[in-house]
């Protein structure tokens, strides 16, 4: 799960957010803080269908050593992990909630995130709800919006680079052994 400590980028090629939004909700420091600092990720809207993007992300995060807790009322178990109907039913502390739901559903979900005391909330790529994101900010949470946990993790551990993508990372320092 190690990330390249010294490397950061402010670059995001995504077009959906304004520069102001990006400074708030797609900040490299926040992204790295979450990726490095968390262990338990609750995924709201995680699908049990293997071809769905959420399933891709969950399977990636599991193989990178995170605890993934599915939140999906229509499933008992996803990728071998017990699924819960909502955040409140999860019996262990949650570090970050990754939301794979329609933007309109996010206000209620963020209220729940605040209630269960998670430290961070992450709205997946394409999930944009400024009202919900601002509510989480006001409650003191670290917030990321319109970004993919798998892509961002890949950006900083070097694997996104291996498929030719522009990570925006420039550094003349020696990389760390393994993932640093």
């Amino acid at each position: 799960m190690g990330l390249r400590q010294s490397l950061t980028t402010e670059q995001s090629l995504d077009t959906n957010l304004t520069a102001e939004d990006k400074a708030l909700f797609k900040h490299a420091k926040n992204i790295q803080q979450i990726l490095k600092g968390v262990k338990t990720v609750a995924m709201v809207g995680l699908s049990n269908k293997p071809e769905r993007p959420s399933n891709f992300v969950a399977s990636y995060l599991l193989s990178e050593g995170y605890n993934v807790i599915p939140v999906n009322p229509r499933a008992d178990e996803i990728l071998g992990q017990k699924s819960y109907p909502d955040l409140k039913s999860i019996p262990v502390p949650i570090d970050v909630v990754d939301i794979f739901r329609a933007p309109a559903a996010c206000d209620a979900i963020v209220d729940e995130v605040i209630e269960v005391g998670a430290k961070a909330v992450w709205l997946q790529l394409g999930v944009i709800n400024r009202n919900a994101a601002n509510a989480a900010l006001d409650a003191g949470l670290t917030v990321v919006m319109d970004a993919c946990m798998k892509i961002e993790h890949g950006r900083y551990n070097g694997s996104l680079h291996l498929v030719g993508m522009n990570t925006g990372i420039i550094s003349a320092r020696r990389a760390k052994v393994g993932l640093g």
């Binding site: 402010e10 071809e51 993007p53 891709f56 990636y60 498929v163 420039i170």
Partner: protein
Amino acid sequence: MSNKKDFGFETKMLHAGHIPDAVTGARAVPIYQTTSYVFDSPDKAAQLFELKQYGNIYTRINNPTTAVFEERMAALENGTGALATASGMAAQFTTLMTLLRPGDEVVASSHLYGGTYTQLEHTMKQLHVKVHFVDPTDIKNWQAAINNKTKALYGETIGNPKGSILDIEKVGALAASHSIPLIIDSTFASPYLCRPLDHGANIVVHSATKFIGGHGNSIGGVIVADGKFDFTNYPSIADPTASYHNLKFFETFGEYGFLMKARTVTLRDTGACISPFNAFLLIQGLETLSLRMDRHVKNALAVATFLKEHPQVAWVNYAGLPDNPFHDLAKKYVPKGPGAVFSFGLKKGSGDVREKGKKFIESLDLFSHLANIGDARSLVIHPASTTHQQLSNAELEKAGVGPELIRLSVGLETIEDLLWDLDKALQQSNL
């Protein structure tokens, strides 16, 4: 933790895509001359094959040396990512194979490299893709050729053979208004002279064989995507892909959707991958790209100006000359100079001008007579006695390459020596 700004072009040229090696500390980019990579575990291998992890699988799909070339090109073109291919032709073909389905149509500029024209006209026809060629200089021609089957627009930054400059912003706006991507071949410009994605193109392709490699030693190509095009209603990228358990590339990979499909479906299945050693040589080329291009355009302008004044020369087609019809577009899209490849016409004397062309070529000592462009050395070709020799004079005129046409790719030699060589050959061929 630095709040780093965007780095400059030259910095990216030298650093983007490569961090000094973790194990050895090697500063230069290592050449990973390997076909394949040992998997950590069967589970990790399965993750890789299902695209649930990004990583090395097999060099037909990706390679760590090639990845440096790809990320560097993406950074230089201000793109979201890149895919390297065996050649420029393969870059174009991979792009079209990824985007198009049988029955789709393309509208393309008629000012294209001859090989590209053949690929679009004949090979695409075999795949049931119809390409409409239009005079690119009037946007109305593009507009008129678009219909509900049109799935891409295609042009060159600096077009063959007339050196015309494409109004990328106009064509890009038209493409956007029809929700279709604009593909630009920017081989003649290189990312140093023009970055089409900044002007509204969605995909850039290059023959890296030319200025990117810069030394005439490696064939290669590259595709760069902007990551901004919305493929939501574009079936080939949005719809489920049968060979990956119905994965939807756009939904799953977002801004990387097109490139991931190009790599893991098209390149995997058509096999036109680049060799890691060629990727290494192209990286070496990129590290001096700005310096070479500055000199290329400086020499090209000096040669064009000299020829323009020469009594044995009928005309010069270089958009860098102030009286050229494309000079204003050149100032906008290639402000540092419109490349180093252009054509000029020998003055028709009393004899056969085709023979005069041959004699001119034979009289040169520094310009290499060959079919390529973008070498550090100066190159020359006379189409009427080589690539187009089977055509009659009338057919040549119709194709826009008359029997008097000479094409130059101006290199980095001492300018006085180049002018000396041209002057001498012009005198000697004055039959």
